[in-house]
Symmetry: C2
Subunit: 284 residues, 2 copies
Amino acid sequence: VVKSLINGHVTDVIDVSNRGLAYGDGLFETIRVIDKSPVWLGQHLARLRRGCDRLQLNLDETLLRAEISSLCQTSDAVNHPVADQDVADQVLKVIITRGAGGRGYRPDPRQGVERILQLSSYVADPNSSQQGIALFTCKTRLARQPLLAGLKHLNRLEQVLAAAELPIDCREGLMQDTAGLVIEGTRSNVFFVIAGQLCTPSLAQAGIDGVLREWLCDVMSVQIRQIGSAEIDAAQEIFVGNSVFGIYPVTSVHGVNGAITPFQVGEMTRACQAQLHQATGIIG
Amino acid sequence: VVKSLINGHVTDVIDVSNRGLAYGDGLFETIRVIDKSPVWLGQHLARLRRGCDRLQLNLDETLLRAEISSLCQTSDAVNHPVADQDVADQVLKVIITRGAGGRGYRPDPRQGVERILQLSSYVADPNSSQQGIALFTCKTRLARQPLLAGLKHLNRLEQVLAAAELPIDCREGLMQDTAGLVIEGTRSNVFFVIAGQLCTPSLAQAGIDGVLREWLCDVMSVQIRQIGSAEIDAAQEIFVGNSVFGIYPVTSVHGVNGAITPFQVGEMTRACQAQLHQATGIIG
């Protein structure tokens, strides 16, 4: 069940000549909404601003903030009611595109941006947060592209191909880049405890700079560095995280050769989950 | 002026939850239409089929062919008339997406594909075909991703960024990959005559395998190989080509340092243009 707002108007459709469809010419954010309040809204908007700078998109942030506030406050309004019994838990997707444009890659610098907001109900998965998940090592690798690394842009075919690989018993997939470095999950960032130190891969060449990752690097001592796939087996703890589901401990890694390596849910993982719950209300 | 057909229905809008918009989860073709007849239709559909295989999209090709034929034949129909005086020259864009889907990268294997057809009038540029164009060397580089190389998929942010670099007097931009190899134009393939031999870059790691390029490799002796940027200055002739505009000779290359290297329009370029005109009716 979704309520959509496009440039402030309640509608479910976009023009077929939208550059977001034609070229993936835009960005997005996926934001957890608890009790009508978007979690880490400032951090999501800051990442969006960095992306807009890089793609030269003229986003009116004040207008976007007002629309987000309006949509979240009136989310049980008449037009497209959120029928779910539990309206307290929702997820807001914000898509920013360069709007409708003629044929041709070249963007028109005078063109305004299009703001697409979609609010859906969200069903949390406390089981994954508490008992942990299996992590599948994907064959699909991420290209190295420093111009786009970090951004949550709309060119996500690599993630689609990687997610298609996941067997039913694995809730997340682990992606390496074409150089063999560990980068991230298909929809999350990944964290390791190696020799007692919490660390997460550098995203200078590939990957999405997640809002939860950014927050965690602020509140905990996290080492950001290149992590090779050979280091995974040496980890004492592994967890994946994003700003919607929070933190899922990893209890096994399924390797490309079929081997399954078990992991314990350790103290560091539980400490990060506790901090997260305190800061945001997200369980896990 | 555009007439659009989506899954066979005349409409200009798509559902906001389309995966083509969300993730660029799809492919496209841009086809020259002369006197209501799509040029190289078989080759375009063959490339689309290769892309659908790679992305696991279940395209109904018979249905697509029927819709293309219907749209091209009735292009001066009442609904959205092509107002242009010269209806003989048109361009047909075909977008194939995985259709509307919920949140999440993982594709549903049972999901049908969405066929989006857009027919527009086309204004040819005989001046560029005859006198040639200036080619700008773009700073934006292409990532190396063998899983997606060759395909004309919807993840085209690199081309958008490169096209945004073009100065007004350069009709096309030349792109290298992140390893420094010459790959293609922003919207065309590139061909060089080096030591008398016609050659074009290998697209194993990056680039779009163009329909004109495929045709040219069939009818001429073209060497496909890695081409370094240092070889550009040694070329006797350079031209760019795609299946819509045909072949534009390159009369100068603008380097990243601002230097401009002039090139002659040579016999090989003219021979390729003559063959093209004979085979398709495209001038240039």
